[in-house]
Symmetry: C2
Subunit: 346 residues, 2 copies
DNA sequence: AGGCTGCGATAAATCGATTTAGCTAAAGGT
DNA sequence: ACCTTTAGCTAAATCGATTTATCGCAGCCT
């Protein structure tokens, strides 16, 4: 009974509201933005304006607001691949957090490709996003550095570059692996293998360090034979073959630590294929949880990432930067503890 | 060597480019938008402009363009929950498709809440998205209807409302279930149970219909005892209990068809908990694939959704609507065949 | 009475593009 | 020589808001 008069009914503009209320556009703007008092608009007039606004259901044209204020109220979220469970879960929390702060999300996936990542950053900046939430791919340091140089509000998640002073929040990779490793050692595993991926990112290096140092601190020698570093090229078949071979050639192997859930899942396939029993023939711990690990009998022990905390903290950090009053706190580095969850596999 | 002169270096505007090239802003605009010929700008001048554009790396301010042209080059993608595997996979394909067409995605999740969905639609329209890609939650018919009434380009995915003439693309739910059921019947299952969820959406009704009609067409009586309809309230514990009870009370049960992958996963938990062997004690088929089903021994037979096709087709449909030249083809209904994948569970 | 202050509201500039209408000079027609 | 085209380019309006600078008027002071 109110919307469709003619047929194409142009959207109501602030000017229209002003005309209907019999005031100037600026007055409407002040009232709507809570600057009525400051601009000393009388109560009376303010109410008249609000009445028209309510009656018409006027909503400001956000693009126009954006152009004028330079604030898009939009954040760019860049993940490796939205279909990965970790990233999807992250995205979910980020979205709802952003909503709480009155921001929208434009998301995009790098597919672990630095070139694509770089282009996406350009795309996002062309889109005038107010801030960036990025899980960086290897090789994106230049792009990140540039964002910093341009003083763009930015938070990295899941990884970071040691040479680039960007705020970042991620799990304590070293500590997480250490926790899992000590558990394996405590339960009596003697020959613990480590399956990781050859990716030039700090989180993988930290996990590796966690593996080696925990062994050393228990006076267990680190043998290179027990470390399998797979190429990150997405060739599942080849990886499965290599893991199988790795298990077969290491005779005394009694436990495996997988550095990512993706690897852990491949590992499960191999172990099942070889007819080995978990945990009797081979114990297993995996970094980063996954639905499968809860269900796959007998349940896989994992170090779970604190996804909620990561997302919320990252958001907080970003909001701090967006809050012009308190710029300056760059270089924030946050490592959140992972959660060790013991299941049947160890 | 070129970017940072002063310190706050305002972004280059079209006007700046014009000044540098010694021409009028309008000229630059024409050249950049391929209207040079039409506006009879000389080759010579056009080249001069392009030279400046290249040298400076000028990029138009998309918000300004958006305001002037009314095109945001942004699409709204609304899914039930981005962390669901089906939706995440869908989002992934949609993103890359959108990119191909030069569009960006603003995404948001309904969390299966019609109220939230309605608000999100408002949010998206305030954001001036050019089109909507929606997997609707129950109860959103009014909102969808309104979008249609406002002639908004729109495509529904995964579900639709029989009473609302909106273009939609989804799997052939009936046919998919039928395929799975016939497989179970062929392999000799006599008492096939059906576990579904009480959601008032057409796809669930179609799946139920698929179950019942396939039985009838094979002259097998449909027994209500063999149908379990769980409430959709996210209470996992309760659902697990009910499924377990369902299995225990139906003595002759030799196969289960799960109407969603979420239910299937719960089912796995129950079956494992009861110590039953798949497929010997109980065969199983699930609608909608999931990583777990590939891996969980002995592998779960599924009807896989054609996610790629759904996404690509939906995008195509949306682009058709955005292409003003050929409006009018509303009411497109597309049901794509699912892919039956036999694994060890049946 | 003239100048100053404070109040209440507005006119006009601005953000950065697109697009319509128009302007100037040269060419063509009679 | 005068009028009409046409080519080549630009001025100015516009999209829909925000924000700065004013403006008129009433009251107060001297």
């Amino acid at each position: 009974m109110k919307e469709q008069k003619g047929q194409e009914m142009k959207r109501l503009s602030l000017k229209d509201v002003a005309r209907m209320a019999g005031v100037a556009p600026s007055t409407v703007s002040f009232v709507l933005n809570g600057k009525a008092r400051q601009m000393r608009i009388s109560e009376e007039l303010a109410e008249k304006v609000m009445a028209v606004v309510k009656k018409t259901g006027y909503q400001p044209h956000s693009v126009a607001v954006n152009l004028r204020t330079g604030q898009s109220k939009t954040l760019g979220l860049m993940v490796e691949s939205i279909s990965g469970s970790f990233f999807a879960a992250l995205a979910r929390v980020i979205e709802s957090e952003a909503d709480r702060y009155g921001y929208h999300i434009v998301y995009c996936s790098t597919e672990n490709n630095a070139t694509k990542g770089g282009e996406l950053i350009k795309m996002l900046s062309r889109q005038q996003v107010d801030g960036y939430l990025i899980t960086p791919a290897a090789g994106m340091e230049k792009d990140i550095q540039q964002l910093i140089a341009h003083k763009r509000p930015l938070v990295l998640m899941d990884s970071y570059f040691p040479d680039v002073a960007a705020p970042h929040v991620l799990i304590d990779n070293f500590g997480g692996v250490k926790q899992g490793m000590e558990h394996l050692i405590d339960r009596g595993s003697k020959q613990i293998g480590f399956v990781t991926v050859d990716m030039n990112l700090v989180q993988m290096q930290e996990r590796m360090k966690g593996y080696k140092e925990t062994l050393r601190s228990h006076n267990i020698p680190v043998k290179n034979k027990l470390i399998l570093e797979l190429p990150y090229d997405g060739d599942k078949e080849a990886s499965v073959r290599k893991i199988r071979q790795f298990i077969q050639t290491n005779k005394g192997l009694d436990a495996l630590f997988f550095a990512t859930n993706y690897l852990g899942i491949l590992g499960l396939e191999c172990i099942a294929g070889l007819g080995l029993k978990i945990p009797d023939d081979l114990a297993m711990v995996c970094f980063d949880d996954h639905d499968i690990f809860r269900l796959y009998p007998p349940g896989i022990t994992v170090v779970q990432q604190p996804i909620d905390d990561i997302a919320k903290t990252a958001m907080q950090l970003l909001m701090n930067q967006l809050d012009k009053s308190q710029r300056a706190l760059r270089k924030t580095k946050l490592e959140l503890p992972g959660k060790f969850i013991k299941r049947g596999s160890s």
